[in-house]
């Protein structure tokens, strides 16, 4: 109700003098159409429905991928969905979706308490912004630095193994640490955890604290207050975090490639990377990307259905 009054006031003010000049948004809009929407449409509507974008040998730089017979067809989709040679890739898609789900849940379990702690104005009120600021540098340091850091720690000649050997806990290095499922999951959680903490922090911070007191006064115990008041009210942040982690993880390929070893070297993204890199099969690569996109859109659609975008960013200020 409060929001409605606020919005009404806003409209009144914007009627007095509004920046309704659409010239503000036109360049951005055109930019996004040309360089964001159209490329994706090209990928989806052109490359994935054409066969023949495969490597035929080096000619010159821009035309090396062109085959002699580029033609419209549904062949890519047929092959991708039904051909038996592509069965491992279909399984890989499911495995990647599963991995993303696990990563999201781990990020949530680790991220929610941190966001809750940082947003509760108890002892750390003065250092709140500094503490949340310290989540940012690991996120911004870039993929290579972050993955490399874990290689330093987990490797056979890395910090943990040599530490344990130095104190004679173990004789041989623990090989499962680096180059396996464990290290892939660890680096993925490391990379995407800040993206979970931030939205939850924002939504918890804008949460009306008097509601918690009301719940307390009415005799709810802390667990009940948390489950029935705090968690539902922070739902927009939680869902935003879920989306921000879930979808990018489905497209991850660097982490398994760099720390996955031979057991966990590929995720679904690796297929796309390979098709557009050394594999030179742009048609199949685009088709694989289309499946990733469809997956992303379904998730995003569900998310917008659940909570409007306005609720996530509109109230944050």
């Amino acid at each position: 109700m409060n929001i409605e009054i606020k919005n009404k006031k806003k409209t009144q003010i914007s009627r007095i003098h509004s920046y309704s000049n659409y010239l503000y948004v036109l360049p951005t809009f055109i930019w996004l159409i040309i360089f964001f929407i159209i490329p994706i449409l090209v990928l989806v509507g052109w490359y994935s429905f054409h066969t023949g974008y495969v490597f035929l040998g080096a000619t010159n730089q821009t035309t090396s991928y062109r085959s002699s017979e580029i033609a419209w067809s549904l062949e890519n989709y047929k092959i991708f969905l039904f051909h038996q040679n592509y069965a491992p890739i279909r399984i890989l898609f499911l495995r990647t979706a599963m991995t993303s789900l696990i990563i999201v849940i781990i990020c949530f379990i680790l991220g929610y308490p941190v966001a809750y702690f940082l947003s509760s104005p108890r002892k750390i009120r003065r250092h709140q912004m500094t503490l949340i600021g310290f989540v940012l540098p690991p996120y911004l340091a870039g993929y290579i630095v972050r993955i490399y850091g874990w290689k330093v720690i987990l490797g056979n000649q890395g910090v943990i193994n040599t530490f344990l050997i130095y104190f004679r806990v173990i004789n041989k290095p623990l090989e499962f640490l680096l180059y396996g499922q464990f290290s892939v999951y660890l680096t993925l959680v490391y990379i995407y955890l800040p993206l979970m903490i931030f939205p939850i922090f924002i939504s918890l911070q804008s949460l009306n604290k008097s509601l918690l007191e009301a719940a307390d006064d009415l005799g709810a115990n802390p667990i009940k207050t948390f489950l029935r008041v705090t968690l539902p009210l922070s739902a927009p942040g939680v869902l935003a975090g879920f989306i921000l982690v879930f979808i990018p993880v489905t497209g991850a390929y660097l982490e398994p490639m760099l720390v996955g070893g031979k057991d966990y070297q590929v995720m679904f993204g690796s297929i796309i990377r390979f098709a557009f890199g050394l594999g030179f099969d742009w048609s199949m690569g685009s088709t694989a990307s289309v499946f990733l996109l469809i997956f992303a859109f379904i998730i995003t659609y569900l998310f917008i259905k659940f909570v409007g975008l306005q609720r996530i960013f509109g109230e944050a200020g």
Partner: protein, 267 residues
């Protein structure tokens, strides 16, 4: 409030413990990278026995590194400037006006945040190839701007939602025209948000690897150079480069906003 404060039970313990664990988790790799950049041994053996500046000296003599850093700096500056202008303008329009399809526009603006960068890089690559463009710095800038726009839009629109419009009205009442209001009231008040948008986009673009790999062409950037170093197996030198990057990131995210804030207030 008393009751809420007395919750020093399991919940509080969980909060404290997880927060400490998460911060250790976040900073363990960073501390290790920095420490081992001064180790003489190319392996990461636990007690660092001999310290040296060996990797830093190779770093200083690496011509390709300097070339790629300059490229990355240029890319970062260009990207952050363009996306700041486009993003701030869009945020203005979205926050201050009501129109049909506002949610839709906002969604498109935020879409790059959730799109896997791999898919986006690939789609831009195929788009530019269809046009017959050769990959260059320009294509990389275009790719990065779309990915850094959401940062600027979110930061600026949050700051605009919390903006006290009566200040603008007061200026209007005192006879300022629209451009004066913009120049002397609105822009100074949101400058910090715009600045933090610029900084975030700069760092993001400076460190971006996945889109760059597809779009930079022959212009190697710092992350793609580091990538090739890793692939060639020249790893200890990566410690030193990573340390530099971490220092830049720490400086920009933690110290620079404070300096900027002080200046903004003294003006």
């Amino acid at each position: 409030m008393n009751q809420t404060r007395q919750r020093t039970d399991l919940g509080t313990v969980i909060q404290y413990v997880t927060t400490i664990i998460v911060y250790i988790f976040l900073y363990a790799p960073i501390v290790c990278i920095i420490a081992y950049s001064f180790s003489k041994n190319p392996m990461f053996i636990f007690p660092i026995k001999e310290w040296s500046f060996r990797w830093w000296i190779t770093l200083a003599n690496d011509y390709m590194l300097q070339y790629s850093t300059i490229n990355s700096l240029f890319l970062g500056f260009a990207t952050s400037l363009i996306s700041a202008i486009l993003g701030a303008a869009a945020a203005f329009y979205i926050v201050r006006t009501r129109f049909k399809g506002k949610d839709f526009l906002y969604m498109i603006l935020l879409l790059p945040l959730i799109l896997p960068p791999l898919v986006y890089g690939v789609s831009l690559l195929s788009f530019f190839s269809l046009l017959g463009w050769t990959m260059s710095m320009l294509t990389a800038i275009i790719g990065h701007v779309c990915f850094t726009l959401p940062f600027v839009v979110v930061v600026v629109s949050i700051s605009l939602y919390g903006f006290d419009r009566s200040l603008e009205e007061a200026a209007m009442d005192l006879g300022a025209d629209r451009f004066q209001v913009m120049r002397y009231i609105t822009l100074p008040l949101i400058s910090q948000a715009v600045m933090s948008g610029i900084l975030t986009s700069f760092i993001f673009s400076f460190n971006e690897l996945i889109i760059s790999m597809f779009l930079v062409g022959k212009n190697i950037t710092l992350p793609t150079y580091m990538w090739s170093m890793w692939m060639r197996g020249v790893t200890p030198e990566l410690n030193a480069i990573s340390t530099v990057i971490i220092m830049i990131v720490l400086f920009v995210t933690l110290i620079f906003p404070k300096i900027f804030k002080i200046k903004a207030f003294s003006n």
